[in-house]
Symmetry: C3
Subunit: 267 residues, 3 copies
């Protein structure tokens, strides 16, 4: 199969920037281009990290991801390449790449240092085009990592805890937070399916607590096992606990906020 | 020419889901990927069916369309492949695929049953990634339909009547409804151009009736034959009657609603 | 490297039109498809021209750009091909293509006249699909320009002055206007970096005048050299003067409008 080169950014699909990035890459490589999204909220590194983390596991070995959510462009923040699970992640060293790379193994890291593999006329505001796109395209062509960068170990590893939900033994509660709201109004939490399965059963009566208030809810095998308009819990497609309303909108129904803490216990 | 594999969904371009679907397909096939859109309104099967119906006729023989607007995921609704006009349509059996497939001929239908051609770790919430993408990618590679699915005849055929406008002999009126509003504010009706041409002429004075009120309007050969800001009728690019305002917005001018009934008669 | 065929339009990514355009091109060519954007504001020829002008310079020799912002479709406006810098620009002769083509050299122009290279069933409302896509795809395949069109010299050259900012000697002021607002709230002006560098220095105190009011501001080497939340000037990625707020939104802070005149002088 063809090598894949993906692009993710907060540039906006209506802006000229994604097309400039791809123009530079098209000079260098015939790899298959896939746009993950250019609609990450402006400067929202965590949302970019989450989307990249969600999808990286499905990509073939050899895939190179060029990801740019880069509020620090033009400062001293470094250009980073992480590699793990035979995939490459290229972008700013600001935490954007780490969760995805770590989900595939123990990443090997390089700072992008070698100018023959970046654009000679480098702007101070657009490293996506001038640094990350050419570096990523050369990697997609099989240029060895060590020719493009210099090994480092102190790259940024934020604690995004995309699977950080946990079981509190004393209280016999699952505790986590909302890490993503999708356009259907489903709220994805950071509570892993495995943890839920260990302590709770399908169709059992549970209580979901938010801001000190509890609402009754059941874990369903899928939306299809819930009643019409039922507030329910399901395992989302990334094996995380999801709060949903069948044929409805959980975000609107409950007023759920990104980042808010949720707690779940047996009724 | 290269085989084409298209993707259509209501996932939202800002979500991780389209990129997960394409990741799975990129493992299997080198076909050309074309995103039709991922901005179908959430759960709006009819809008998805309309967009797919609009574009399918322009695709080359051998094209595979992977389409996912799937409010029933995780229920017993079947996975469907339709083939007609040497194209393939892969998605949920909920009416999404039927109008497009029927527009190219009399479809041959299979339920997706053969697990070697779908992902082994199948989620209950994301068949786009786990079932439809791999099945579509294998079809694009030339795997025979009968290896992937089992023939069925009772697939879902909703009555979307995308060309269902008709001539009422008694009243000598054309009657139809608004089936699509585009971003320019043009309202596309389900009244076929051929029907209009049979009963009305260009530049003739007509009356457009909505909610019991009539407004004068003329059928123009194109926007360019209308006056500046004139409310007019044209034949849209899919040979349907379209209500437009030249260099203006018919939807706003008339307050047009999706689905509303419109009637047209000679003045 | 593979030939590149780009697409730019105001169709909207949620509409069927971009997919119809690409369907037609996929019949003709195996070139790499790149969507620049389909989110140009409806009928905004100048915005389309700006985005195309921004990105064209980064594309490889041989690239063909198929651009459609076409309020005059169905009138007598001509179909145009411009070529310069070994790239091709295909679209309506309404000013959309000129700035991009002129930025790469002195364009050679043809009107699209030769029907074997356009769709035989031509609609009066969708030349993107019926004329521009097939012409562009044939060019990407290496069909000579003279087989598709007839040379003309009177093509539309609007005065968009994307680099038209100037220095007023008497007043010792730089004068220009806001030509693009990006989603980060940065306002890009048409004042070229070179002109600014000639008359002003980094970190020097300057005064930015809008609507008769002056605000103090400094030119920074990049966002990273500004203070947190500082209103500042930087050179954008296309070497134009940009008004920005570090980790903030200049458009909201100042109430900047597209097209508004801005003046800059030494404090």
């Amino acid at each position: 199969m063809k090598r894949v080169l993906t692009f993710l950014s907060d540039f906006g699909s209506n802006s000229p920037y994604p097309a400039a990035v791809k123009a530079v890459a098209a000079h260098i490589t015939d790899a298959r281009f896939v746009d993950i999204t250019h609609e990450i909220r402006a400067h929202d590194i965590q949302e970019g990290a989450f989307v990249l983390w969600c999808v990286a596991r499905y990509y073939p070995a050899g895939t190179v991801h060029c990801a740019v959510v880069d509020p620090g462009v033009g400062t001293q923040r470094r250009g980073l390449i992480l590699t793990s699970g035979e995939q490459y992640f290229v972008g700013p060293d600001n935490g954007l790449l780490s969760a995805a790379a770590q989900s595939l193994g123990n990443p090997y890291a390089c700072e992008i240092t070698n100018s023959p593999y970046v654009r000679s006329a480098m702007s101070s505001t657009f490293h996506g085009r001038d640094v990350f796109a050419p570096a990523a395209a050369h990697l997609a062509n099989g240029v060895p990592l060590q020719e493009i960068g210099f090994p480092i170990t102190d790259w940024t590893r934020p604690e995004y805890d995309f699977q950080g939900g946990r079981f509190l033994k004393e209280a016999r509660e699952l505790q986590g937070r909302v890490i993503y709201l999708d356009r259907f109004g489903n709220a994805i939490t950071n509570i892993p399916a495995k943890l839920v399965e260990k302590h709770m059963s399908f169709d059992q009566e549970l209580l979901l607590r938010r801001h000190g208030q509890e609402v009754p809810v059941r874990l369903r095998r899928s939306y299809g096992f819930a009643l019409h308009r039922e507030l329910c819990l399901v395992f989302d497609s990334h094996d995380l606990l999801e709060i949903a309303v069948r044929e409805g909108n959980a975000q609107e129904t409950l007023g759920l906020q990104l980042g808010e803490r949720v707690t779940l216990r047996l009724a």
